[in-house]
């Protein structure tokens, strides 16, 4: 019994040791947003960061139309913590994603307009991501709108 306890404690210690390795601080921020054209297959590709993802489910989520991605641009930026912020013209929301196994996992959906935002742009303003839409400015974090200037 004693031996079993010892083995369990040692295993826990080893596993804890493995998971405690952190490279901190790390800055994942992109200096400027990327404007990504969605191709005919619904794929969005960003060359500088070698990033590509299927944008069709995002458009379906936003508009309910599976073909709404055609001839559209997405605006993508990554914040200091590594969260991806994605939005587009006439979107009502900014989508915050984390990286998963070969996929983007939705972390938060931040509603910024009820009717849809016109020509939105992202700026990197650590610790926030700034969203500008016309005369409106929003300071966003992964959890939502932190500040709003009008």
């Amino acid at each position: 019994m004693k031996i079993l306890k010892y083995v369990i404690i040692m295993t826990a210690a080893v596993l804890a040791g493995c998971s405690s390795l952190r490279l901190s601080p790390a800055d994942f921020s992109w200096p400027v947003e990327s404007v990504i054209r969605v191709d005919d297959n619904g794929m969005a590709k960003e060359d500088r960061y070698a990033l590509s993802f299927n944008a069709k489910p995002l458009y379906f989520e936003e508009t309910g139309d599976s073909l709404a991605y055609l001839d559209r641009d997405l605006r993508v930026i990554r914040d200091t913590l590594g969260y991806y912020y994605i939005t587009g013209n006439k979107f009502k929301n900014v989508y915050v994603f984390t990286m998963g196994d070969g996929a983007f996992n939705l972390y938060n959906e931040i509603q910024v307009s009820e009717t849809g935002i016109a020509n939105p742009v992202f700026n990197q303003r650590p610790p926030y991501v700034e969203l500008i839409e016309g005369d409106n400015q929003y300071c966003l974090s992964n959890s939502g709108i932190e500040k709003e200037k009008k």
């Binding site: 200096p31 400027v32 742009v121 700026n123 500008i132």
Partner: protein, 415 residues
């Protein structure tokens, strides 16, 4: 009232700063990239030094305009940064400026060369016709030979000088830096085209080649002359090979002058063939000087066949033709023409330039030996026979004289 104005101004400036602040970083970066690219294009496509100077002003104003965005641009212009972008623009500017400086210098050079070439063109035409006249006159009047030689030397030097000028002209129009480029820009092409047209370069190249051909045709030349001309020809051909395709591409775009360029290529081939033909003509003339009229030949093979055919005919005629005449023909052909002049003077040149082979030379000489044997063969045999008999007789006499006499009893007593 005064305060109200100040407040309004402050509000306006706040509004202005707000609108500046509200600008997208992405747009700033894209705007900078677009402007830098436009300046780069205007540098590369500048067709005059003034256009280039205006690009330099644009560089300065771009730098000033975006100086306060340097941090953003440093992060966003990967793999470049703010300073590197301007370094690249400056480098493109300096390079292009160098092109213009070079072009200006070369244009001045070419204009000077053009005048000199024109003078020499006229002079060479006069000299060629003078050589033609003197060649004809010298056949009857030997006193003209010295004059002819002097004029030929003069013409040769003058042609060479003109060729060198034409070469410098081509060299200046398409400098080595242009030749290394796989494709010239449209401005560079236009520049070369207008200079080539203005300075009549294609005509001068053609005239130069044609005069060289005429010179070969009218003057009697030595192997040394031909070697010199060959070197000159190779130099010319090498330059043309590096420049010709560029000119063809420029002219084909303009749909002009391509026939002239083709003609130049053909004239090069003619010049080369004429040089070969001239060597064989000189050989033929040597035989003709000794009264041996051979058929025209233009290669080692043809010469060997012609010489062999002539000798075969002569061999067949041995015994039919007067023996004295046959021997004179043999001596003229073999001793005077072949061994006396052609072999020491022309054969080394022909062998060196692969116009004649050792095997062909051996064939000719074997034929000459056969001819000699058939002419003098019997008398030689008699001589050998007489000499042989004489030698045998002398040897027998010596042996007989030296043979010791048999010993007699008197001899024995005496000893």
């Amino acid at each position: 009232m005064r305060y109200r104005v100040i407040i309004n101004c402050l509000l306006l400036s706040l509004l202005f700063s707000y609108s500046v602040l509200a600008q997208s970083d992405y747009e700033i970066v894209q705007g900078f990239k677009t402007k830098a690219m436009a300046i780069d294009d205007s540098i590369r496509n500048a067709s005059s030094i003034d256009e280039l100077r205006s690009a330099a002003n644009q560089i300065d104003s771009l730098r000033n305009k975006y100086a306060d965005k340097k941090d953003l641009l440093d992060k966003s212009l990967y793999p470049l940064n703010f300073n590197k972008t301007f370094e690249n623009l400056q480098m493109a500017y300096d390079l292009r400026k160098g092109d213009f400086t070079q072009i200006n210098v070369l244009q001045t050079q070419v204009s000077g060369l053009k005048d000199q070439v024109e003078v020499l063109n006229q002079r060479n035409t006069d000299l060629i016709s003078r050589v033609q006249t003197l060649e004809a006159e010298s056949k009857n009047d030997k006193s003209r030979i010295i004059q002819l030689e002097r004029t030929v030397a003069d013409l040769k030097a003058s042609l060479q000088k003109r060729d060198e000028l034409v070469i410098s002209m081509i060299d200046s129009l398409i400098p080595p830096s242009y030749r290394q480029k796989s494709e010239l820009s449209s401005e560079e092409k236009q520049k070369v085209y207008s200079e080539v047209q203005k300075n009549n370069v294609l005509n001068n190249v053609k005239k130069s080649l044609q005069d060289n051909i005429k010179f070969l045709q009218v003057a009697s030349l030595t192997p040394e002359d031909l070697t010199e001309i060959k070197n000159q020809q190779e130099q010319f051909a090498k330059l043309w090979k590096s420049v010709g395709p560029k000119l063809v591409s420029i002219y084909s775009e303009k749909n002009a002058g391509t026939n002239e360029l083709k003609e130049i290529d053909q004239t090069f081939t003619t010049w080369k063939n004429t040089l070969t033909q001239q060597a064989w003509n000189s050989v033929r003339l040597i035989f003709a000087d000794y009264g041996i009229n051979l058929q025209r030949f233009a290669s080692g093979k043809e010469f060997t066949e012609t010489a062999a055919s002539f000798i075969n005919d002569e061999i067949k005629n041995v015994g039919i033709k007067n023996s004295g005449d046959s021997q004179i023909t043999y001596k003229s052909f073999a001793d005077s023409a072949w061994y006396g002049e052609v072999k020491p003077t022309w054969v080394p040149y022909l062998l060196e330039n692969n116009l004649f082979t050792e095997a062909q030379k051996d064939t000719v000489e074997n034929k000459i030996t056969d001819w000699k044997n058939s002419l003098y063969g019997s008398s030689f045999n008699w001589m050998y026979l007489v000499i042989g008999i004489l030698v045998v007789v002398i040897v027998i006499l010596i042996i007989v004289k030296r043979k010791p006499k048999p010993k007699t009893p008197e001899n024995q007593t005496l000893s």
